[in-house]
């Protein structure tokens, strides 16, 4: 929680020496910096008590209020919204200042309200929520009257009850109010019980009525046993209800103002200015709903030396408060893994809770967050490793336990989380010498390899292969794991045979032989293309082309099979030939297929090659999609790399569209700016350096964007159409055969469909009307339609 390790005293003693690297000569600036540092660091570890530090700081600030009022106001309000973990410390400080200087208190309140309004306008939802909580906590410090806070909250509740606006908007207002109550519930209960009850009544009505179609799409586990995976607002509501039945008494929040009660209760209170949330605008993006991830309960944690260390229950408000604080630490330090781990482990209440368990649950909750984790996955993995290094006696053990529990429950895990679990676990293993009690999983070698558990093991080892090398992985696992061990990632060149041997494709082998020699002699591309056209007669044109593409792709990639770099260099060098050959989508698919035949055993190679072929625009995104859904790839359909390729293809497309979108927008803006400023001839001089795009150029850019958007839409249409086709076919077949359609294949396929919606929800959303009218029509099987409706509900 402490921003810096240095104590409060250091600064007092060494402040003049150089607590800032850059010494500024201006005395005012120096004093302002000093004030800022003082305010920022109050609440850090110190030899004297927090209360006496606060008291001291309040008197220092009071003395400076006349000269530096605005600066102090600004710092305090900044701290209020950006350091939510120190909320009560700053409210106490403001409370103390308010007793000394009533007007200052009033200005603080005004500025806070303004800051909250700004945050709402600029859609900084978390900041706005923290500002509201801060304002609420000021009621505890007798800065704001309970009645006027209730009025503000009522306005928020009204926004939650508003009809005809997206539920995500209403959810946010309800959530913001509920998340203040742990702080201010008791005070409101004591002073305005009936108003509080009325407000809670309205909120309850809303929470019970709201639509929860999205819930299933966002769950990590489909099952609620052993731990319910609750919708976030439902969960918080239950926690608040529990708090209410405990007479709003919670023991978790540190409340320094209690010590100053006798001083604070003398103070005059302010009334909040009237504030009504701004109305909904269609362009506003609201936070998506969430599901609270749970994997531990108190029985999973070892009993500590005393029974005081116990994991709070799922509906206890402490669980919510601790999780929120841990997430906040994670968010603040996620870019510095070592610092992050240290901060997490020095969580102030670590002696009262099984901290390692709570950290691990929060970390996995973030890794598995749907639709997308907030940070890149490796950030979480690397922080977990730092946590292990910092706390080697417990952290690795808790992680190992967590891994076993997750594995055990993997049958009901969402497919997207399944992928993330694989990448985390393999990454973690690569940092732990790939040691794991593999023997424990031996029994799964005998089950259907399409079941989640064996599939997980197989895919983990494949992913480990990317982080090590083949022999290493083979050595690591027990011999009984032969079925799971990855194949040696070698190229298989089918034209390597002597043309005269039986079984060889004579034409192909001959051609390949010629090509190899030609490439080795470094002859020109034209000559290569001439060799390719020189194919024995008597064959049909189409097959000719197929043979040409196949032989060329395989021969070239085979010659370049030594490394990724060799392959990339080969593609770059023969780019013109590739382009000439891949003139139709059919040829492109043929090229992809040839690559697959060659590199079937080397998933990572296929992934990077497809990426390269897309980047160099040799193949188009739609060709990749069609190839993956083709008959030849049926055997690969449930493998993780297949979906890695599809997602990278979609991402490539999205990136392309976004880039063009930005270019077109910038150019359009530039033209408009120049037009509006054209009268101002003085500006022309400076503008000359920046080429002003002509109207024609802008139009060209916009055309390009439109074309790209059409491609993007087309790509999604192809993918969803293919999904609907194969799923419907499966459902019908199972129906006629009278078997349960819920087999492993169905589980994977419907999960992958859901994954496309979730991972690319921002892009798919743009085409949801088209999808609804063209593909996801009401006559579709409800099992498939459900996935689409869950997706729509995300932003409802």
């Amino acid at each position: 929680m402490n921003r810096r390790k240095r104590g409060y005293e250091d600064r007092e003693g060494g402040g003049a020496g150089g607590y800032r690297k850059k010494r500024r000569t201006n005395e005012t600036v120096e004093i302002e910096d000093r004030l800022e540092s003082l305010i920022l660091r109050v609440g850090e570890k110190s030899t004297s008590s927090l209360e006496s530090n606060l008291e001291g700081l309040a008197s220092v600030l009071e003395a400076d209020l006349t000269t530096y009022k605005n600066k102090i106001l600004k710092i305090l309000v900044d701290c209020a919204v950006s350091l939510p973990d120190k909320c009560t410390i700053y409210t106490t400080l403001i409370g103390l200042l308010n007793t000394k200087n009533y007007n200052f208190g009033g200005e603080c309140v005004e500025l806070l309200i303004k800051s909250m309004k700004d945050s709402l306008k600029t859609v900084k939802w978390e900041q706005a929520r923290f500002a509201l909580r801060f304002i609420a906590d000021l009621v505890n410090c007798h800065v704001i009257s309970a009645g006027s806070l209730l009025q503000l909250m009522d306005n928020f509740v009204d926004a939650a009850l508003e009809e005809g606006v997206p539920q995500v908007r209403r959810d946010w207002f309800a959530y913001a109010v509920l998340s203040c109550l742990p702080w201010v519930g008791r005070e409101l209960y004591e002073k305005k019980e009936s108003e509080l009850d009325r407000m809670l009544g309205s909120l309850e009505g809303y929470i019970k009525r709201r639509n929860k179609t999205h819930h299933n799409a966002l769950r990590v586990f489909r099952s609620d046993t052993p731990h319910p995976q609750e919708e976030y607002l439902d969960c918080l509501w239950q926690q608040i209800k529990r708090l209410r039945s405990d007479m709003w008494v919670e023991k978790h929040i540190v409340r320094p103002y209690l010590a100053f009660d006798s001083v604070l209760c003398e103070a005059l209170q302010h009334n909040l200015p009237q504030m009504v949330p701004q109305p909904h605008h269609p362009s506003t993006i609201y936070p998506l709903p969430q599901v609270v991830f749970r994997m531990f309960d108190y029985t999973d944690c070892p009993e500590g030396p005393s029974s005081t260390i116990i994991l709070p229950g799922q509906h206890s408000i402490e669980r919510y408060l601790i999780e929120e604080q841990l997430r906040h630490i994670l968010k603040t330090y996620h870019k510095e893994r070592k610092e992050c781990a240290a901060q997490l482990l020095s969580y102030p209440l670590k002696n009262k809770i099984p901290l390692e368990y709570m950290i691990v649950e929060v970390m996995f909750g973030e890794i598995f967050r749907l639709p997308n984790p907030e940070f890149i996955e490796i950030a979480y993995g690397s922080i977990l490793i730092e946590l292990c290094k910092l706390q080697p006696s417990t952290m690795p053990q808790v992680l190992a336990q967590a891994t076993e529990l997750l594995f055990e429950r993997i049958d009901t895990m969402s497919v997207t989380c399944f992928d993330r679990f694989i990448s985390w676990f393999s990454y973690h293993l690569s940092n732990f010498q790939f040691r794991w009690s593999w023997e424990d999983w031996e029994e799964h070698t005998k089950t259907d390899p399409e079941m989640p558990k064996p599939k997980f093991i197989k895919e983990v080892l494949l992913k480990c292969l990317r982080l090590a090398y083949h022999q290493r992985i083979v050595d690591v696992v027990p011999e009984s794991f032969a079925a799971f061990a990855p194949e040696k990632p070698e190229a298989h060149f089918k034209f390597a045979l002597d043309p005269n041997e039986p079984g060889a494709e004579i034409n192909g082998c001959n051609l390949a032989f010629k090509l190899v020699n030609a490439i080795k002699q470094k002859i020109s591309q034209e000559e290569i293309q001439a060799i390719l056209s020189d194919i024995p007669e008597g064959e049909q044109d189409r097959e000719l082309n197929t043979l040409k593409v196949t032989v060329f792709t395989q021969t070239l990639l085979h010659l370049a099979s030594k490394s990724f770099s060799h392959s990339f260099a080969a593609i770059a060098k023969f780019h013109p030939t590739f382009k000439t050959l891949a003139d139709t989508e059919e040829a492109q698919i043929c090229m992809l297929r040839s690559m697959y035949e060659l590199w079937r055993k080397h998933h990572q190679m296929m992934v990077v090659l497809v990426d390269k072929l897309l980047k160099t625009q040799i193949v188009e995104c739609s060709a990749v999609a069609n190839w993956l859904f083709s008959k030849e790839m049926v055997g690969e359909f449930t493998k993780v790399y297949t979906w890695e390729i599809l997602h990278l293809t979609i991402r490539k497309m999205n990136k392309h569209v976004n880039k063009l979108n930005k270019e077109a927008n910038d150019a359009r803006k530039m033209v408009e700016d120049v037009e509006s400023e054209s009268e101002d001839s003085d500006n022309d001089q400076s503008r000359k350096t920046m080429e002003k795009p002509t109207e024609e150029q802008v139009e060209k850019l916009e055309e390009k964007l439109e074309a790209a958007q059409a491609d993007q839409k087309n790509l999604f249409l192809i993918i969803f159409q293919r999904f609907i086709m194969i799923l419907s076919e499966h459902l019908v077949r199972c129906d006629t055969d009278g078997v349960n359609f819920k087999n492993p294949w169905y589980h994977w396929t419907i999960g992958r469909l859901q994954q496309i919606f979730l991972l690319h929800h921002e892009q798919v959303e743009k085409y949801s009307t088209t999808l609804e009218t063209l593909l996801f029509t009401q006559d579709l099987d409800p099992n498939i339609l459900d996935v689409f409706q869950q997706f729509l509900a995300l932003r409802m």
């Binding site: 009993e303 290094k389 080697p392 053990q397």
Partner: protein, 334 residues
């Protein structure tokens, strides 16, 4: 108290005498412990070493006999001498331990006394064990399997009835078992088993449970090896037979090195097998490394301790040696 059941309610004269002596020794021990506080680690280590001595592990009359040896001397140092003679192997443990024989020996004698009937400390151990057993009823399938395996086996233990919860210690694979139950894989052992080595019991030659109730010997995954001109490869070759090695680190100028094993049993096996022996012409001294984290199992995940050991060894690359050939990139087709 469980163990007390095996003794008659009335104490014999001899036992009374022992009890009085125990009290006295405890006072001495306390005093010595106080004066030796800075050498805490060392003390622990020695204790670990000595716990394996057969003479110390006798129960009842046996330990009385052992005490008789020291009975004549009543002062702290005197006990120290006899203790040292009991614990011969302790001599190999390294330079400075001679300074504090009193502490450890007082402890040893105290322990013997504990075994004869004074039960205070045992109580604690058993309490702890109970806790271990009762924690967490929600467990992984793997563990469920392990536990049921254990329980079934525990049922056949001839001493389990009288020895109560402590019986849980000894249900490892190396225990003799009258039933042809399929021996569980090694890692299926209760993690507490790792505290009692097979060798330990073999040396005793009797299925004596009470030994286990004494304080646990110092545990660890890492051993300290001293020998002239040792190298990393040398250490790997010599100790490979004791178990999977997680990490090897060398301090060449001090002629010593540390070998971290995946399992603590391996570390103990390494000590008993290689200490004071000649390997490839090098005289070795092997002991438990002093400064190493104590990893107590807090849950039942089988990879727990391995991951902990690796995390604690500060070595990410570990003992792995890449056996691949170097790939050369000579040609320039592209």
């Amino acid at each position: 108290m469980v163990v007390a059941l095996s003794f008659p309610a009335k104490l014999t004269d001899e036992e009374l005498m022992l009890k009085a002596k125990y009290e006295k020794l405890r006072r001495i021990k306390k005093k010595v412990a106080l004066s030796k506080l800075p050498h805490h680690h060392h003390d622990d280590k020695l204790k670990g070493g000595h716990d394996h001595k057969p003479a110390l592990l006798l129960s009842g009359a046996g330990s009385t006999a052992a005490l008789a040896g020291s009975g004549g001397t009543s002062s702290g140092p005197g006990l120290g001498v006899s203790g040292a003679s009991l614990g011969g192997a302790g001599a190999g443990l390294g330079g400075s331990h001679h300074r504090i024989p009193e502490a450890k020996d007082a402890k040893e004698v105290a322990k013997k006394l504990i075994r004869t009937g004074a039960l205070q400390t045992i109580q604690k151990t058993i309490e702890k064990d109970k806790q271990e057993k009762s924690r967490g009823f929600k467990r992984s399938q793997g563990l469920e399997r392990k536990l049921t395996g254990l329980d079934a086996r525990a049922g056949y233990q001839p001493f389990s009835a009288t020895h109560g919860p402590s019986g849980g210690f000894d249900t490892g694979g190396e225990d003799m078992n009258p039933e042809p139950v399929e021996p569980p894989p090694k890692k299926v052992k209760n993690l507490y088993d790792t505290f009692v080595t097979a060798r330990d019991r073999e040396e005793r030659g009797l299925p004596d449970r009470e030994g286990n109730q004494s304080e646990k010997p110092r545990q660890g995954h890492t051993v300290y090896v001293f020998g002239y001109n040792i190298s990393e490869d040398f250490l790997k070759t010599v100790f490979a037979s004791n178990g999977k090695i997680v990490n090897v680190s060398l301090e060449v100028e001090k002629n010593c090195g540390f070998v971290t094993f995946e399992k603590p049993e391996s570390a103990e096996a390494a000590i008993s097998e290689h200490n004071d022996t000649l390997a490839q012409g090098i005289q070795l001294k092997v002991s438990m490394a002093r400064r190493q984290p104590q990893i107590d199992p807090i849950n039942d995940a089988s990879s727990s301790s391995t991951w902990s050991t690796i995390a604690a060894s500060h070595s990410q690359k570990g003992s792995h040696k890449d056996k691949r050939d170097l790939v050369t990139y000579d040609d320039g087709i592209f």
